[in-house]
Symmetry: C2
Subunit: 245 residues, 2 copies
């Protein structure tokens, strides 16, 4: 028995059967949330730490002139707000992109976790470091790459992360993003995102349709996007299918 959450942490630190059982127990108590609603809103003081068990969400912020910037996509296994233990107020929001199942960790559970398992504690710490590294890579993406390369790079990252939690089917995976969301992620207009997607599709690099992405040849797309996964700090090499007991 396993799930995306367990698989994700297991990519950072070798977990004990005990650790896994504990994580699974929390996962089954996850609550269902519908699409397009905020899990956490800017200004909130969330009391629990949330984890996406199933579905897609995004980290975003609205600017004073009504624009939206998306900072991160949260896929199964990702923490929403591991960092804000100390901050009184969230400085950004987290919204669902699809129906999600969300697990809740109370502060007491976090304490229990850090006391019962050093490797789990390290894994959580790693999660927040990787979130930071990913943000830096996004900055490189916005600052240095053209629209089609930028979009491809995002797709490569998502593929790598979905692969890490066992949610890809060859080069294909679920991706419930509208072009509007993509444009708010990439700092591009919707129209330009549309044209860039067309370009990528016609070049045979990647197709996005019906909330699903299809990458005919992942290596080719990575090459095109100059994608180097090392910032994701995944411990075992890419395809490493490890059994999960």
């Amino acid at each position: 028995m396993s799930n995306a959450f367990v698989r994700k942490l297991d990519r950072f630190e070798q977990l004990t059967p005990d650790d896994r059982a504990w994580l699974l127990e929390i996962s089954v108590r996850a609550k269902q949330v519908s699409a397009d609603c905020d899990l956490i809103r800017e200004g909130d003081n969330p009391e629990n730490v949330l984890v996406i068990i199933d579905g897609f969400a995004m980290r975003y912020k609205l600017t004073s002139n009504g624009r939206r910037q998306i900072f991160a996509y949260l896929i199964p296994g990702d923490f929403c707000d591991l960092h804000v233990a100390l901050l009184k107020k969230m400085d950004h929001s987290i919204g669902t992109l699809s129906p999600c199942r969300v697990a809740h960790f109370t502060p007491a559970m976090i304490v229990e976790l850090t006391e019962r398992s050093p490797s789990l504690t390290r894994a959580l710490w790693m999660c927040s470091l990787v979130d930071g590294a990913t943000l830096r890579e996004w900055l490189v993406n916005l600052g240095q790459r053209s629209a089609p390369h930028r979009i491809s790079h995002l797709f490569c990252e998502l593929h790598e992360r979905m692969l890490a939690v066992g949610l890809t089917d060859d080069g294909s995976f679920e991706l419930p993003l509208t072009q509007s969301e993509l444009s708010d992620t990439m700092g591009l207009s919707i129209v330009h995102v549309n044209r860039s997607l067309k370009e990528l599709r016609e070049a045979g690099l990647v197709t996005l349709r019906n909330e699903r992405i299809i990458i005919p040849d992942v290596a080719v797309l990575k090459d095109y996007a100059e994608f180097d996964a090392s910032y994701l700090h995944l411990k075992w090499p890419l395809q490493g299918a490890r059994n999960s007991s």
Copy 2:
């Protein structure tokens, strides 16, 4: 007695005289480093945590096609690598922009710190949270703002941070950046940075000359840039001149 490092942490958590004395003691042992050299290089496994006591540095990464993206400017009081305790390898570099004095914390000293002072521990934790929040704000900056607004926003941030550590002189402060560095920060060409700076200068908003920035009216520039300092999570309000014993 005080310095930028002490003042910075003191903005997050009220420190005890003991805490301050300890920080100062470490600060005086800081080592001098010349301009334009790397304190930490991508791929390194740094053993000590570094703090800029004096001078300017940047966090950056070189892309495979030879471009450079700057993620952050480090000013006096800033940590270089608080996060990488766990990561085996740095995924980016840190280079000096001016001659710097750099303090070194050994792992043992960090442990001592967390044991001797909960408020210092929280202050350090806050530092890394604020670094993350700042990175998110930079992403908004690159994704959503035009060149002149983008540059102004950066200047507002730097002013706010320099003010927080007592290094501004009215609306003016030292800023040893070339236009090339600005362009690698902003995801703009050097030429366009030059033209945008000219525009800002002629609008009377801000002047950058001789490694020094002059903001005639900070409030006006903040307004222009739609700058909202809340992401810096400074505890006491802006001008709060608190005595440092």
